[in-house]
Symmetry: C2
């Protein structure tokens, strides 16, 4: 299958200053990749090297006259920004010109636009946001990360089915271990939605391992590949982890910066500290996938730098290569059909 990705070149806190160098890097790294840079053509041209012959036909520009502000309301963006770089980039996916779209723009507007333009996979009620976290066991994937504040058991079950297919594709494993986020491992724990979702997942073909607690995101007692929760809890958990990492990083830096002796110790330890930072560098985990839509949309962190935005594009490449939208659609149809018969 072809590998063409549309880039919302204007999105994010840094816009084209980040999206364009990241796009060029990705084109250099993967000779199969084609990118369509969507946005203000004049601005984009200025940031591109004069000679693009090295990329042949792999880099094209699609002009869009508008862009969505980072704090613009989703409904306003949807109504008033029909020629935004975000909207046009998603249109390219809908029309089959791109296999996926990557944007660092406003999450709410991106989700609303993607849902409006691409429509839902039949059988799925709501889209969900999934991302990857580093864990002492490797990686953990979690959804939903904020698209849905209130979820029924059925929604959580649908998230599990979709997430399971994505994790199979990304991790190359057959039976991801699926856990439901809860406040204890015993059957009696949790709210009614979680308890009912547990029954649905348990009775499905998924490899359900039971309830897991918040620590399982990064460092649980056993490996969990996919953690399912509602968007309120998932978003808070993700941001709590970000805050913890920031505090720990700040504290470590302060400890090494205290005086001349600690600074020397820091210099000596710097190759080790660098290695440590790389292992948990959030830029290497950038990119959240919107699941449930009839097309692939990857959301990059708004504050992404070039390395982080590159990671998001690379995530899109992997998902396109693995044909995840088709696999999710098939699985949804299979499991939901099976449930109706049962």
């Amino acid at each position: 299958m072809s590998l063409t990705i549309s880039i919302d070149a204007m999105g994010g806190d840094h816009g084209p200053q980040v999206t364009i160098p990241a796009s060029l890097d990705c084109l250099k790294n993967n000779p199969e990749l084609k990118l369509i840079l969507v946005g203000n053509e004049t601005i984009i041209q200025q940031l591109l090297p004069k000679d693009l012959t090295v990329f042949q036909d792999r880099l094209t520009i699609q002009h869009a006259s508008q862009y969505v502000e980072m704090d613009e309301s989703p409904s306003k963006a949807l109504k008033n920004k029909k020629d935004s770089s975000m909207r046009v980039a998603i249109n390219l996916v809908r029309d089959g010109h791109a296999n996926a779209c990557v944007s660092a723009g406003n999450t709410g507007a991106l989700m609303a636009t993607a849902r409006f333009v691409l429509k839902m996979i039949p059988g799925i009620d709501r889209p969900a946001i999934i991302s990857t976290l580093p864990s002492i066991h490797g990686h953990t994937h979690m959804l939903d990360l904020g698209a849905n504040v209130d979820c029924t058991a059925e929604h959580l079950f649908q998230f599990a089915i979709m997430g399971n297919e994505l994790v199979k594709a990304l991790e190359g494993i057959d039976n991801p271990k699926v856990g439901l986020l809860n406040i204890g491992e015993e059957d009696t724990k949790g709210n009614e939605q979680v308890k009912a979702a547990a029954k649905l997942i348990e009775n499905s073909s998924l490899n359900y391992i039971g309830y897991v607690e918040g620590n399982s995101l990064n460092a649980g007692p056993i490996k969990v590949d996919l953690i399912v929760t509602d968007g309120f809890v998932g978003n808070v958990a993700l941001k709590s982890i970000e805050g913890a990492a920031k505090m720990i990083g700040t504290t470590l830096k302060e400890a090494f910066g205290k005086n001349i002796f600690t600074k020397i110790a820091g210099l000596i330890a710097s190759p080790v500290l660098k290695l440590f930072k790389q292992r948990i560098d959030p830029r290497l985990y950038n990119g959240a996938s919107f699941l449930g839509l009839r097309g692939l949309v990857i959301k990059s962190h708004g504050g992404a730098d070039t390395l982080a935005f590159k990671t998001a594009i690379q995530l899109a490449e992997i998902e396109v290569k693995n044909d995840v939208i088709r696999k999710i659609s098939e699985q949804v149809e299979k499991i939901l059909a099976h449930r109706e018969i049962a």
Copy 2:
């Protein structure tokens, strides 16, 4: 006021092996403190020094013939363990023989027993669990941490009132900054309970600063003294942070343990790393307070070691000295009466 604390000596993963040395340490540190060790008298006696004259009348033993298992169901503990160390320790608070009780026992059983024995403060519907987290701004306090999986706006408001009084006492500040945990800072964000709770808190005398996100627990853009949320979200957030800290610690250790050169760097950096660890040592944040009851109960982490259990006893000392139960009761009466008039 007197300062007598009952200790559930049998509670926790390590029982008297931890609770007794921690108790003796606290008695040495604070000449005003009196402790009542509750549990199997024979076992307790064996772990105490032969000569107790140094403590005069400050250390007494209250025999209890039973103890609550760490995985025992709250209802069974309540029904079958009427002479457990946990129950007897709480009875001592009810009967005025102790000003507070500290236990590292099973959280569910402790909460159920405390609620049954001590009863609720009039005006408060449900007890909540509050604890302290290290933050780049100092400390943040969060409730509820798991006592209530589903909360109405009114419950969240009651948590805010109680937490506010506790934070005033613990931090010695007049107007703690109170935030509501949400998945964004805009008014449109969140579920119905959170939006309604925001209105209640905003219209009260509390120093409400608005919605805060998960990163505010440890490292938000501004200092928040008290973060209010329901027990499901609070528990997941707390455990997510624990997991993140564990992963980062493990990764740092692995980086320094990689080879002979990194090990030497680690040796040189060890005083700095020690300082760093102390700053975020979870044992120095051990101890969660049950709020809403007509008596003070502090829950220690089940796996607490001596240092951690000491921290929990010291937290009880501070709360007793600051008369927090009376202050919370007065404030609840004042604010709820005010609301009924309005």
